[in-house]
Amino acid sequence: MNIYGQIASNKRKTIFLILGFIAFASVFGYIISLYFDFGLTGLGIFLIIFGIITYISYYNSDKVVLSLSNAKPAKKEQYPQLYSVVENLSIGLGQPIPKIYVIEDSGMNAFATGRDPKNSAVAATTGLLQNLDKQELEGVMAHELSHVQNYDIRLMTIVTILAGSIAIISDFFLRSLIFSGDNDRKNSNGIIIVIAIVAAILAPIAAGLIKLSVSRNREYLADASGALLTRYPEGLASALEKISHHPNISKASHANAHMYIENPFGEKARDFFSKLYSTHPPAKERIKRLRAM
């Protein structure tokens, strides 16, 4: 699939995901309102809250993500090389220059976030900037800017938010369950209680798996389109080699792992579950593909 195909497919997937999540949230909301005996009014309120959370987070997601990773706006005088690399690549793509951030961390990693090429940001750790030469940094940043250009960032932002909102609401429900006790519930229908609890536990897991399913293969594509941009696949290949042999980033949490250029939890944690939850293909395979280009 070429880049244009990928952009179209990302936009399609975004719409399907939003529709899917609305359906998913409606069913989940309906079960909970049955439990509380609110009926359709409850469902309506639930969907309005869900909508508001999603809407607000969509327009603030980049700020949240950047502040969660402790990213600070990079000054041009302080990081001239990072600036010139990002500027050059943006010129090569014919897209606006994203906001540039730096994370004080000796680990080596980078990510891109935002809604579209006009509202995007890239961040790199100081460890990355110290350990890579210009061509390697160019390779990494070309990969990140490809995520921006391909609208991967928008898709990932929306998925993260939708999954997150479901997790928040189900968490809220489970807490209210614990603190209220069973005896004062109006609805004593045992089956509904069980279904509601099971739904509240399963919903965030399902949402998390949906999040993962959309994030894996795009890494190869971003590698390829990044290499097309720099015309030098070896840059990213050698950067990935350095990154995968380097101690990992400390600020990453499982919530934003999918956004980094390399799995921030390292290659060693690859038992069955981490494979299931893995957001990135193995670095070895990526390097092999880049060197074959």
């Binding site: 010139s84 050059n88 690549l89 010129i91 090569g92 014919g94 941009l229 015309r231």
Partner: protein, 183 residues
């Protein structure tokens, strides 16, 4: 009657096709214009950096008249260039003359040590990188436009409305004779 309906349907399909193709070609051509203007921005920046560079070099190496003159001439011809082809050619010439200038500068330790000189050198290198990337973007736009207007059936519409092939912005050939430096 049925024949008439048939003719109308065919005519409508044709009009729709011409309409869409025409608009698509206009979009592609506009993208090329946008891309060339982004090259122009970088060329302009390069042109603006040169007088400063020449002044700085003169301060330390005034005997290198020939080299300095070559740079000034190349700069003037880049400023006068109109078509992408002329611009590409003049820009390559400027690159060559700058190479000899920097090679000559090696012989003047004071010049090399000057902060101003190394800053200008960095800025010129950065501008060259940016020219390379904007050229890449321009050429990829030209490639998709040129391919489009040659493909059937778009070529018929392109021919009717006078969509002409655009020129690439050629980089200088990679293998070139090393710059000769005379001391």
């Amino acid at each position: 009657m049925e024949i008439l309906i048939g003719i109308v349907v065919i005519a409508l399909v044709l009009i729709a096709f011409i309409w869409l193709t025409y608009n698509q070609l206009v979009t592609l051509r506009e993208r090329i214009k946008e891309a060339i203007s982004s090259i122009d921005v970088q060329l302009k920046r390069r042109i603006d950096l040169i007088p400063n560079l020449i002044e700085t070099v003169k301060g330390y190496a005034k005997h290198e008249k020939q080299v300095l003159e070559n740079v000034t001439n190349a700069r003037a011809s880049l400023m006068g260039a109109k078509s992408p082809e002329q611009k590409a050619q003049a820009n390559n010439m400027l690159t060559d003359t700058l190479k000899s200038l920097f090679a000559v500068a090696e012989a003047y330790p004071d010049l090399k040590a000057s902060a101003n000189f190394s800053k200008l050198q960095d800025e010129l290198t950065d501008t060259e990188d940016k020219i390379a990337y904007s050229r890449q973007f321009y050429n990829s736009n030209v490639l998709s436009y040129n391919t489009k207007i040659k493909m059937f059936p778009t070529n018929i519409v392109a021919g009717q409305f006078n969509f002409k092939e655009e020129q690439f912005f050629e980089a200088e050939p990679a293998a070139k004779d090393p710059v000769k430096v005379s001391f």
